[in-house]
């Protein structure tokens, strides 16, 4: 049963990602992303990672996608804009990507993850609860990383404002 569910989720995630990339209509692309996020969140649930599942819905499906849709509607795009490609030769790119894929698959086939991380094992995590352990580790061992992520978001906002507001003003 679990395997069937995983198979369905994996297939759905892959297909919706492909549809999102290949769809010529931007709104459809964004909606395919929504499908992708929902399936991912179910995948997290099957792994008993309820916190990640909730975050996936609230942050990605809720906030990020709505922002995407706002942008799409604001610039009023019906069809994708066609720009000249950065790199011309399609077959060459295909071969490069394919060899990358083969390499990754060959390298990762038979991948066995670590049984325990420090004092943590899957059983221990289930006993305490995934959310609590995530919080403890994030705010103790990885507090520096957490703070840097905060600065990173600040820079992202700042960059957007600079590019859109400040430099426009200079032109006018």
């Amino acid at each position: 049963m679990e395997k069937v569910l995983f198979g369905y989720l994996a297939l759905a995630i892959l297909l919706s990602a492909l549809f999102a990339i290949f769809s010529r209509n931007v709104v459809r692309s964004v909606l395919w992303l929504l499908v992708l996020f929902l399936h991912q969140s179910v995948l997290f649930l099957t792994l008993q990672a309820e916190f990640l599942a909730a975050i996936q819905i609230i942050v990605y499906a809720g906030a990020v996608l709505v922002l995407f849709l706002f942008v799409v509607y604001l610039i009023n795009l019906r069809e994708e804009i066609r720009l000249p490609k950065f790199l011309g030769s399609y077959p060459l790119a295909f071969i490069a990507v394919l060899s990358m894929l083969i390499l990754a698959v060959a390298g990762l086939v038979g991948f066995v993850p670590a049984k325990t991380v420090g004092s943590l094992s899957p059983g221990a995590i289930l006993k305490v609860g995934h959310t609590q352990i995530l919080g403890e580790h994030l705010f103790r061992e990885h507090i520096l990383a957490f703070e840097i992520a905060g600065v990173l978001l600040l820079v992202a906002v700042l960059g957007a404002v600079v590019l859109v507001r400040r430099l426009r003003e200079g032109e006018l």
């Binding site: 950065f86 790199l87 390499l103 990754a104 060959a106 390298g107 990762l108 086939v109 038979g110 991948f111 066995v112 993850p113 670590a114 325990t116 991380v117 420090g118 004092s119 403890e136 103790r140 061992e141 990885h142 507090i143 520096l144 990383a145 840097i148 992520a149 600065v151 990173l152 600040l154 820079v155 992202a156 700042l158 960059g159 404002v161 600079v162 590019l163 400040r166 430099l167 426009r168 200079g170 032109e171």
Partner: protein, 468 residues
């Protein structure tokens, strides 16, 4: 899990940079005279260096260690930042981005670089890299009047995000395999497992993008050409140094047990980078593109120090990065001096006969070009000498010979500019855009190039002592 007292003192320079950057951004609206930010940034850079020296040998948990290795790189970043600030104001005013946010973003970028150089767990190094990259994407797009600037930024952003994805993938593989994320702990767990090697390959690809290694260098010429020239100077040296700081620590500390495996992957990249960079530099007529390909080639040379896998090799790479900071910023400062409205001063033919009209800038450019070629008694020669020697000592004489061959090709693009400046009559009208600060930056760079070229001894011993 017990946790030691968090030592915020170790992070003083980074915290200081973030505070100064935020204050500059906030004050921008209130301050009419934008030169204020110029001075604030200069003073802030010096104070940050003093704080970095103050925080030596402190650590923050297991994720950050302010050792001498990190301090050496912080010195390079802050030196580059100082010189970049000096060459910025005239150019930034002309292009319309002389405001607090510009200096603020430079500070954020340097903060990210410092975290990369001193971070001792993969998560901090990754986030430092993102902080640096994000700031630089915006900085590249600053010259809003020029479509090349936006194009360069977009290419850099797309390919940079792809590189980050590779890094995260590699990180996930290693963490999944070993359950370790701290570099020194990771070292004990590495096996010659297939999955681990794949993870290491992902790391090579990701950092290859960041330091502009062939075949991941596609973004470099466009981003370097499109970016405002002071930003090009900044990213060509500081971002590369940060990439190598993290590369050195990850590969020679965490991945060292697998040296015999990854060195085989790295050698072809290094050789290819040297040759492709130099050969493509030959055909360029835009000086910023030429310097971009030259920077690709230099990434190849610096990679040799990592390839040799010894203390001597790593210290040679570090010394070369310091020398590269002086000579490359010097060359870009001359380009800034030559640039006026629009594209004027970007073609190498704009340099024709420069020596007749302005002997001093021409001589300085000659000095930097000689150093980039590696002609004694400039610092460039010393740097290449130690790098190539370390490769020979590590048992790869053939690679050293290839490197020398590649630098012979490199002589052509550099010396062509010298030839144009000294042996041709001026055809186009040449006008400089001088400012006392650019002269100061040029003077400091020239001083660095000559001093290290003549007295490398004491510097080399101190670099060797600061390798972890």
């Amino acid at each position: 899990m017990p946790f030691s007292l968090l030592n915020l003192k170790a992070l003083m320079p980074e915290i200081f940079l973030v505070i100064v950057a935020s204050v500059m951004v906030l004050l921008d609206r209130a301050v009419r005279e934008k030169a204020f930010f110029f001075w604030m940034a200069l003073v802030g850079t010096v104070v940050a260096w003093l704080l970095a020296r103050e925080s030596l040998d402190l650590h923050f948990g297991a994720s950050y260690l302010s050792d001498h290795y990190g301090f050496f790189f912080k010195t390079i970043f802050l030196l580059v930042l100082f010189l970049t600030i000096l060459i910025s104001p005239g150019y930034a005013k002309r292009e319309g981005f002389h405001f607090g946010e510009y200096y603020g973003l430079l500070f954020f970028a340097v903060c990210g670089m410092m975290l990369m150089a001193s971070g001792t767990d993969l998560l901090v190094i990754y986030l430092g890299l993102e902080l640096m990259s994000l700031s630089i994407y915006v900085l590249v797009a600053m010259a809003a009047g020029d479509p090349r600037s936006i194009e360069g930024s977009l290419k850099y952003f797309l390919l940079g995000s792809l590189a980050s994805a590779f890094l995260v993938m590699g990180l996930a593989v290693l963490y999944g395999k070993t359950g370790k994320i701290v570099l020194s702990e990771l070292a004990g767990w590495l096996t010659s497992d297939k999955a681990v090697l794949t993870g290491i390959l992902f790391f090579i690809v990701a950092f290859g993008f960041k330091v502009a290694m062939v075949p991941f260098h596609m973004w470099a010429p466009d981003a370097y050409e499109g970016a405002p020239t002071p930003v090009t100077a900044f990213m060509s040296v500081a971002a590369k140094a940060a990439g190598f700081a993290a590369l050195g620590r990850i590969f020679l500390l965490a991945f060292y047990p697998a040296y015999a495996y990854w060195v085989k992957l790295l050698i072809p990249f290094a050789v290819l980078t040297m040759f492709v960079g130099n050969i493509l530099a030959v055909v360029q007529t835009n000086i910023k593109r030429m310097l971009a390909y030259s920077s690709v080639a230099h990434a190849g040379y610096i990679l040799l120090g990592i390839v040799s896998g010894t203390k001597e090799g790593l210290s040679a790479s570090m010394l070369y990065l310091l020398i590269y900071a002086f000579m490359n910023i010097g060359a870009f400062a001359t380009v800034v001096l030559m640039q006026r409205e629009g594209r004027v001063g970007e073609s190498i033919f704009d340099y024709q006969g420069l020596a007749k009209l302005y002997p001093v800038p021409a001589f300085l450019m000659l000095l930097f070009m000689f150093s980039l070629t590696g002609i004694p008694p400039t610092a460039g020669f010393i740097g290449k000498f130690y790098l190539f020697r370390s490769v020979v000592h590590a048992g790869y004489p053939i690679i050293a010979i290839l490197a020398v061959l590649a630098s012979v090709i490199a002589a052509y693009p550099y010396l062509r500019i010298v030839m144009l400046m000294y042996m041709r009559e001026p055809e186009r009208e040449i006008k400089l855009a001088p400012s006392p600060y650019i002269w100061l930056a040029l003077g400091l760079s020239a001083l660095g190039v000559i001093t290290i070229g003549i007295y490398p001894g004491s510097l080399l011993t101190s670099v060797l002592a600061s390798v972890f």
